[in-house]
């Protein structure tokens, strides 16, 4: 399950008078914050430091770049992020407009629509994997019944397999982003639309001049955040294709784990470090938005 953190104005609180020594309030503050600081040091700072140390030899990077799977994974990751996320966010924006329509059946549908996000990914991804089985999967069954032709061998073709992994990712995370954009749409005052209707504005004009200007920032923030999380999306690829056929559908998230399982931790860390030029600007953008 994924969640979102988006900016909110922080109230300025008056600083207390400076005192010598620690007041009981400061002492208790330190005691209460200590467990998290401990977790942070032991399970975030140490692993990252250790990981960087493991990837210290330039030789690891040479071997990494020479591995054709790495190049392929970088391309796949970029396709996943640029094509996949943009399609997903565009659909989410469109569907958020659908779900704010006041109809009872749409209310019920919106409850059902959350389901992919509310259930764990393993069983549903395995279910989709099974549906795509070329011999006895239900999709090719239906294709054969209606056209008499054999359906494609979905997961054996690297291009189709990667496309299907993107579809799985969209299936799983579309509800969440639609929910966020619905909240954004509901925050727009209704009078704006009423006034526009009186002036005879078309649906497109209402979207172009009322909806989009108020949602642009939220949409951009959501896209960036979705990109960061998708970089860490291991399940959509691993559980559907396992990186196959012939290791051609790996993304950086599964490639790191693949090296780890092959006991090549230095390569795994090197691959992650090579992804940093992609990750850090996105993280920088999010941190700036949040501390504004």
């Amino acid at each position: 399950m994924s969640t979102i953190a988006l900016p909110r104005a922080e109230p300025v609180l008056p600083a207390g008078p400076a005192k010598r020594g620690l007041s009981p309030w400061q002492t208790w503050g330190l005691i209460l914050i200590a467990p998290y600081v401990l977790v942070f040091l032991v399970f975030v700072v140490y692993p990252i430091g250790y990981g960087l140390w493991l990837a210290r030899h330039p030789d690891s990077y040479v071997r990494l770049v020479e591995d054709p799977i790495f190049t392929r994974s970088v391309i796949n990751t970029l396709v996943f992020l640029i094509v996949g996320i943009n399609i997903k966010m565009a659909i989410a924006l469109f569907l958020s407009g659908f779900f704010v329509q006041a109809r009872t059946w749409i209310k019920w549908l919106s409850l059902l629509f959350i389901l992919p996000w509310a259930v764990p990914s393993i069983p549903t991804i395995l279910s989709i994997r099974f549906m795509l089985n070329p011999e006895w999967g239900i999709i090719n069954h239906l294709i054969f019944r209606f056209t008499g032709a054999d359906g494609p061998n979905w997961l054996n073709d690297p291009t189709i397999a990667l496309a299907m992994a993107i579809v799985v990712h969209i299936w799983k995370s579309l509800p969440f982003w639609t929910l966020i954009l619905i909240a954004g749409r509901l925050a727009i005052p209704g009078e704006h639309y009423e006034a526009a209707s009186v002036d005879g504005a078309s649906t497109w004009q209402k979207f172009r001049f009322i909806t989009w200007p108020s949602m642009r920032t939220l949409y951009l923030t959501s896209t960036i955040l979705s990109m960061i999380w998708t970089l860490g999306d291991f399940n959509s690829v691993y559980l559907l294709t396992g990186g196959g056929p012939a290791d051609l559908t790996h993304v950086l998230a599964t490639l790191g784990i693949r090296y780890l399982r092959l006991d090549q931790v230095d390569l795994a860390m090197a691959a992650i470090i090579c992804a940093m030029p992609l990750v850090l600007p996105l993280v920088y953008f999010m941190m700036k938005r949040l501390s504004k």
Binding site: V37, V44, L112, P120, T124, L179, F234, G256
Partner: protein
């Protein structure tokens, strides 16, 4: 009804029906297999000729090689999820209270570092985390998974709780101080009761995150008496002759509790998760 209204309804249905099919198909497919006998599971029908609960019986009686520890693995999933939910709540509430109400020195720095952690892609942190757990001698120990999930769940939890906490009026604290309350009395008698809705949301969030986790569980646990039900499901994939109808049935059983919890706590979850999203 005017012609224009009919066209509008038709357009909405034209969107609604594909959305319905898209959402329900993989879940219905899972359900269909769980009530199909083995022979007819592959027939490609939309409803089995003879629906049966036989698959559930096989699973509950652990009558298949892959299922010999079904109940134990279900219990593992449960105990780990509950531990992560409770401990994350403890760690995050303390930190949020210290940062937001007690204004502990360095609190802002801790908050920013936690946020930074929140933006590390999970699969990237998994690699050094695995090695670290090895160094700590915790591999194949359920505490490794519990601690890793607390690490992942805490940053967002602290952030949400701090946001909610900042909204409580500061006069409350001052009144409590003047009345001579200790920090812990303020925490117990004022803070926790007022924060209850956010605490429910965060506890549920951490619990579901841990129950649903696959990657960390599959890396950190491998003994089949230690693994969670999710990892057990992944292990079905290792064999070519996997009993798919049983796999789908276990998947359905595994997916039901989080879905039920999500819908039961939807009010808290959606409010907590979309708060802050709107006024950006």
């Amino acid at each position: 009804m005017k012609l224009k209204d009919v066209t509008t309804e038709a357009k909405l249905l034209l969107i609604g029906i594909p959305v319905f099919l898209w959402t329900i198909l993989p879940v219905y497919h899972m359900f269909l297999f769980s009530i199909s006998p083995k022979e007819s599971a592959f027939a490609g029908k939309l409803w089995p000729d003879h629906p049966t609960l036989h698959n559930f019986e096989v699973i509950f009686r652990e009558q298949h090689y892959y299922l010999s520890h079904f109940w134990l693995q279900l219990w593992n999933s449960l105990i780990i999820a509950v531990a992560v939910g409770a401990l994350t709540l403890l760690v995050a509430t303390g930190a949020a209270f210290a940062i937001s109400r007690l204004k502990v020195k360095g609190g802002r720095l801790v908050m920013n570092l936690a946020l930074l952690t929140y933006f590390i892609p999970a699969a990237f942190l998994a690699v050094p985390m695995y090695k670290t757990m090895g160094n700590y001698g915790l591999l194949n120990n359920q505490w490794a998974l519990i601690l890793a999930m607390i690490t992942i769940a805490s940053p967002y939890s602290i952030w949400v709780l701090k946001q909610a906490s900042d909204k409580l009026p500061y006069e409350l604290d001052e009144a409590a101080r003047i009345d001579g309350a200790s920090p812990m009395q303020l925490f117990r008698l004022v803070y926790v009761p007022l924060m209850m809705p956010s605490l429910v949301a965060i506890g549920t969030y951490a619990l579901l995150l841990a129950w649903n986790e696959y990657l960390y569980a599959f890396l950190l646990l491998s003994n089949e008496k230690q693994i969670t039900l999710g990892v057990a499901l992944g292990n079905f994939l290792a064999a070519d002759d996997s009993p798919w109808e049983l796999l789908m049935t276990v998947g359905l059983i595994y997916a039901l509790p989080p879905a039920a919890i999500y819908y039961a706590f939807k009010r808290y979850m959606v409010g907590g998760l979309t708060a802050g999203a709107v006024k950006s």
